[in-house]
Amino acid sequence: MVKLDQINISKDGLTKFFSPIEAEILRVLWSEGEMMTSELTEKTNIPLTSIAGTLDRLVKAGYANRRVDTVNGRVRYIYAPTSSEEEVASEITTKILDSLVDTFGPLALENFSKYSDKK
């Protein structure tokens, strides 16, 4: 879950900021939109016993939301991402930039402008 103390820049892709299972779920949710639990386990290929706790955490942390759907006397969760990939990306970027400015002050800002000039 995106907490600054858990960011690990040595890892690949989204797993820098999320656990591998969280990253996998978010990737699937962003590309497919609304999904049932059974579809999520199928698409991510993660067994329900491992995915269920993570889904609870993602919902609690606000990255996903779910509603209860009743159909033919059965109940099921329908999951959806709370914010788009772009919104999460900008949230993470802001957090990291904030922490850099917090630590290095003007030095960090100087490097940002050099960096954007280069790009």
Partner: protein
Amino acid sequence: MNLFGEINCLGLCLKTSEIASLVALLITISIALLAAGFIIKNPKYRLSTFVSAQLSVLLAIFATFYLMKCEEMLTIYLYLGYAGISFVMIFGIIRFYDRLLIKRLNAKPAGSIMKWTQEFVDRMTSATVYYYDSAVPRAFAAGRSIFVSLGLLELLNDDELKAVLAHEAWHIRNNSRTPYLKQLALMTFSSPKGSEIEYLADSFAARIAGSEALSSARRKVDKVFI
């Protein structure tokens, strides 16, 4: 009142008292019953031998206090205090525990989303079925309430769910007795026998919903309904 004095006194009293042999007999009986509990296969008899062993340990404890014939004993105060506090904890908490859980889990009556679950439980015992918001499949009973997570309702088919509900209903039906088991276990410094109780609840569930449904529910959600 000092502890070492009392221990010395205990040795002396055991040597001189007439009922020392009674204490010895009670302790032998307890050990024999405990040993028998390990050999017996039937969980119902196992449980009752275990309870008898604990009762005989309790008698031995009180006989020991009696034979020491002291006016004021620190150990007996400590022991009675311990028994009293555990009694309040076990019986006090159990009365309110399900109310507390309903609040904490923000649980809602399961009858409102799956009507038949409440009707099914009504036929076995008087308890309310609650569901709470979690994808992790789980079921448990407390007080006069059965709690199931939405993840469990989602995962199991009707027959499997019936097996789980019957298992929990058995707990509710016998809940009035389990606190005594816990209290007894605490007072004799042993652990309550959980696995036998679970086994009895499972055999009831198998009778109600069929062993096929029970084992398939166990396979799906292993160990998450207790």
